[in-house]
Symmetry: C2
Subunit: 511 residues, 2 copies
């Protein structure tokens, strides 16, 4: 579907994710559905760990942040107030002949200029090779039309910049012929449905395009019941939906996705820039704790002229994906726009009463917003690794490893009896499994050579492997009895550890 075939690293990651049950295309047996993904057994555990770590660090370990789960379908007025009905639009271009639709900012065009005269137009959809493709098209055009003279290098612009007199001259990327493209038109990205018995305007409702509005709409209810004092935050994890025209880059941009958003309310007199910086740093540190190397992260400040009128500043934490540096976590200082809008549209005051200063005001807000899917993809990409490891006979072979941080890894410990046809080994291995399982995710595997079992776990990022062998049973004497081999995924080093000391050794490592 949207797998970038031209990117070998992405291809490997996509293939591993499918092969090992991290990520499947949704409804694959029916040919799939574009922009939707399913998460298999290992994918679910990885996502659960991402969510749980975020929830723990963001809510449970702090005094100043509380949780919320608001419904996906809310009153439609919410989206009038938030501006999503009026403004949540992508400019779209239709091709009247092919019936295809393109995002205007992803459709590029350029005049073909020979001897300083415009002799025609070329176009292409955004990709890593857009410019080269269009240059080639221009050369072909020149040859085909047999025009003599000097061809200037093409200078692609996107379709939002096309002048009305240019539009009829630009070829459709679908047909190669001009004349079929419409001017860009606004296309609302919210998915719409009807709730209730009737199917008319009164029943229209939307699937939320972000979880954030839930926090604003319930702000008063939480202030009234939650014993919170400014500065405080409301955090939520949940699904959102956007009718993206061109879902792409695997799970990076999909139509159904899961967000982790937090609205941090501060006094209108407080220093917003200080809090903005606080949350950028917090998010960066969190990503590093989740196993993403700091060196792969950077910051992008949205230029002032591109910000909404109410926004004081937005910084994106960027990650070096295999398909380019892209937004991972956005931290926006939104002023008091959202609360003020809801006060206006609902008629309910959205003020906070400061009982020390004895004054009422509408709080300002800092919003760190991130997607579970994007973090999952960033973690998969940064964890993916190929190195060399010795096989059974000591010969070096290439090894695929997912170097997940232990706190994020779907399975913490794999447990292997050396041989599956020795009941004493199997029994002992299962006893070790039962000892550890109440405290961490384990995987018991008795099938195949021990080296192959290690490789299977390396490939899914299990940080620790335990082998139960004849020494464990006491065949080499009492000193090694009831010890096991603990293997480290990354260094592949092995050490001998007492079973009775396993828990206290492993527990701090997986937190």
């Amino acid at each position: 579907m949207t797998e970038p075939k031209e990117n070998p690293l992405m291809e490997k990651i996509v293939s591993l994710c499918k092969r090992r049950g991290f990520i499947f295309q949704s409804s694959e047996i029916y040919g799939g559905i574009n922009g939707f993904w399913d998460y298999g057994p290992l994918g679910v555990e990885l996502r659960k760990n991402i969510r749980d770590c975020w929830w723990n660090d963001m809510v449970r370990q702090r005094d100043d942040i509380v949780g919320l789960e608001s419904s996906i379908i809310m009153h439609p007025k919410v989206w009038e107030a938030s501006g999503h009905i009026g403004g949540f639009n992508d400019p779209m271009v239709d091709c009247k002949v092919s019936k295809q639709r393109f995002r205007a900012d992803q459709l590029f065009f350029a005049p073909v200029i020979i001897d300083r005269k415009i002799v025609g137009y070329v176009s292409a959809l955004e990709s890593e090779t857009t410019a080269a493709e269009m240059q080639e098209q221009a050369e072909k055009f020149k040859r085909k039309k047999a025009i003599q003279g000097k061809l200037e290098p093409v200078q692609p612009r996107d379709f939002t910049e096309a002048k009305s007199e240019e539009i009829p001259l630009i070829p459709s990327p679908a047909t190669g012929e001009p004349g079929s493209l419409t001017p860009p038109r606004a296309f609302n990205m919210m998915l719409q449905t009807y709730v209730g018995a009737l199917r008319d305007e009164s029943a229209v409702a939307y699937l939320r395009p972000e979880t954030a509005q839930g926090m604003f709409v319930d702000f008063k209810a939480i202030v009234d019941t939650g014993r919170v004092k400014i500065p405080f935050g409301i955090a939520q994890v949940g699904k959102s939906f956007r009718n993206e025209i061109t879902p792409r880059n695997f799970i990076f941009r999909s139509r159904e996705f899961e967000q982790m958003e937090m609205e941090y309310f501060i006094s209108d007199e407080d220093d917003w820039a200080k809090w903005h910086r606080y949350w950028i740093d917090w998010c960066r540190e969190w990503l590093v704790k989740a196993g993403i190397p700091a060196a792969q992260l950077s910051e992008y400040n949205h230029p002032k002229e591109k910000l909404s009128h109410y926004s004081k500043g937005t910084t994106d934490i960027m990650f070096q994906f295999p398909f380019g540096v892209q937004e991972l976590w956005g931290i926006a200082a939104r002023g008091n726009f959202d609360l003020s809008q809801h006060a206006k549209f609902s008629g309910e005051p959205m003020e906070y009463f400061d009982d020390v200063a004895k004054r009422k005001y509408v709080p300002h807000v800092i919003e760190p917003a991130v997607g579970v899917d994007r973090i999952m993809l960033a973690i998969l990409c940064s964890a993916y690794c190929e190195d060399q490891a010795p096989d059974e006979k000591g010969k070096m072979e290439s090894r695929v490893v997912l170097k997940f941080a232990p706190r994020i890894a779907p399975i913490k410990v794999a447990i292997f009896p050396l041989l599956k046809n020795k009941p004493e080994l199997v029994e002992k291995a299962k006893a070790v499994r039962d000892l550890l399982r109440p405290h961490m995710t384990v995987f018991y595997d008795e099938a195949g050579a021990i080296g192959r079992r290690y490789r299977r776990q390396d490939e899914i990022g299990t940080p620790f492997g335990l082998t139960i062998d004849f020494d464990t049973l006491g065949e080499k004497g009492d000193e090694l009895k009831d010890t096991v081999t603990l293997r480290d995924r990354d260094t592949m080093k092995q050490e001998r550890v007492k079973i009775s000391e396993l828990l206290q050794l492993l527990l701090p490592k997986i937190r």
Copy 2:
């Protein structure tokens, strides 16, 4: 909205849930949206504990069950194969005058019979008093029409049983007059949307009405990648949507809800009844571990003649809600219907290869399906309790307690410095908070008299309270130094515990 005002216990629970931030009406500042609920700070923690306990017991602690998260919007063919497009209908009746719509099986009617002659009809919507209400209507009818003779007791039937010649004679519950009700018509309960650029038949998609189909559609992908062997299960937690015409009983029946479903695949030659019983017992035990008294649970076997043709048996675990005994957890033996349907509609084989018996077959399935919201409501109802407790001066006063099982309670331990204006007490209390917080949810509270602080925690079901007093600081000598008072929510008994022993004392109690 749908709060059953006539039920004093439900009223108290609904009011507590709102007052303490467990459950809010969705979009309340805009007048709400019928059938949708938001979960506040304590509600979210309660739900997270329900989900995490289920996931842990169902997936992580077992070798034979793996997880899945499939998308809410799937390929529309899925719902053709599952029968939801053709058959997921409620028979609905419209009142042409009031424009109201009723579920036919919730609209009751009866002929008014005087001296063995039908002289008219009465009707009422389903409630606990339907029959009495209709009897009263019949008596009123007799008086109003001044008909002499013996009135027979009314015998209510639901509207699906109304004969076509009766329909024009039955009064609408909205207007009280006959002539405006339509015959029952099928009304599909799936919420529909459009995905992609166009808004035509080709773009129609549905919000899933159950998570179960995800497990069937991804069955092959999981068998191929998950190293699973029959018998095995696939479990999922996630949102589902049904366009219920009459959402009611608080969060019992809503339009957006969260399911925890598991499909357990067994051999076609295995004894399904044995597995069916196994899962019924498992679910009952789980509910008891979650704090629901066994005595409030019962079983209801769907009668054979009401089962779908493919179903071998369905048993519901019922719970005594304040509004009646209702379904809590359904355990269905579904044969191989679902996998066979998807094989037929997708053209993909849905067979499992048994590599010991060397034979292929389509597995049968047992499905325990439950809603997070229903379990949450059952837990709230069974935990709600009013008793007597002494106030500050020893006078007995009434106390509201939520007797949550500690593993489910939103907050495990509340921590109180005896006085908030003694820095040594506050500092020590915060040290205790920081000691416990990495391991459990805690709430630090320094505001108000200690008795009031206890009451506030009782009302939200916090099982343990710790008070840091002057003895903790060593004012009564070394023996009591660094000890705290541990108060039990249910018995209200207090004991003195060493801070250094708190973790090992509390951890086993909250698991």
